[in-house]
Symmetry: C2
């Protein structure tokens, strides 16, 4: 494809992302995507075979962006500071959107789990990679005595991800920062996260 | 409506419930509901004005059933035993469905939050009532020294609900009991839930 074609393709994906995020994979129609991109059906179908293909590409791009985000925020001076930084950054990300849209991967998980095996496999891989990155920091923090050691790092990492997903769900529902912020501050206390000042 | 009409109405709601649970509110079509109930369009529309009305009634019934479930499982000998009983019962409920369908209210929250204000208000009320019931048991457990006291009961109750929602999401995604079971056993340790034997 020409460079101009590639630019158009990227623009379609960028315009389609908030539509999938807010309406969900199933409810999004080709009509929604035409409205969001301002393109004709013919032009859109020239670049993608259909809604599913656009959805899968949007998912791939969002996954890559999220992995970059995790790597970026999980690199503070100490493992505990990295985890704390991740908590702050996750809350800030959702605050910036006014708690609209929620977690792209959590939304896709709930939609895809029972009916779209390909998509749900893709979501499972994102969650697994996310949990592994958190687990690595928890393990390092446990070694340094910056976090409680009486539970395995993997189990604590799963708890962190589950709690954040549930917190985002509640904050999105109430359009309030409180549920997510409270869950994160509870996690700090319960994990016995010790930051050096 | 005659008693026979009421019976048909209840049968429609019962048949429609798993469809809404698995496909979600938006993706469920009148065609799906006709297939699930085995009725003609005319017969279905005689009892309900449309999909939305059926969805709202299914939601009301599920809410009432869930509140009854909570009241039933939260009545063990002690507050801590009640909470532990709730954890077991919640896991058992989802194990019984093979982790298909997930949490009806969590699913509806994610679908409705940004686009269906009426439904999202109804979901918010369910979550609030759920959190309050857990909070009451945590408060009582704190008073008896059966649970840690350094965090407010409301905040811990929000954490419990968020963590369970996130755990159900992961267990549904992986069709495995482990994520939900691990989250619950982490909660028991982190809340310092003390059961008397």
């Amino acid at each position: 494809m020409t460079s101009k074609g590639e630019t158009t393709k990227q623009k379609i994906l960028a315009d389609a992302t908030p539509v999938f995020q807010i309406k969900g994979f199933t409810a999004t129609t080709i009509g929604d995507l035409l409205a969001a991109t301002g393109m004709t059906k013919g032009a859109l179908y020239f670049h993608f075979p259909g809604k599913e293909a656009i959805g899968v590409e949007v998912f791939r791009k969002e996954s890559a962006t999220f992995m970059d985000f995790l790597d970026e925020v999980l690199t503070a001076e100490t493992p505990a500071a990295s985890l704390d930084n991740f908590f702050r950054a996750a809350l800030g990300k959702h605050r910036d959107t006014g708690f609209v849209g929620g977690c792209f991967f959590g939304n896709t998980a709930l939609e895809a789990s029972d009916i779209f095996p390909v998509l749900s496999q893709m979501v499972a891989e994102v969650f697994d990679a996310w949990i592994e990155k958190i687990q690595a920091k928890i393990e390092a923090a446990q070694t340094l005595g910056e976090i409680r050691r009486d539970l395995p790092a993997r189990q604590l990492a799963e708890l962190v991800v589950a709690t954040i997903e549930g917190g985002i769900m509640q904050s999105r529902l109430l359009k309030s920062e409180l549920p997510m912020a409270n869950s994160l501050s509870s996690l700090r206390v319960l994990l016995e996260l010790r930051l050096r000042h």
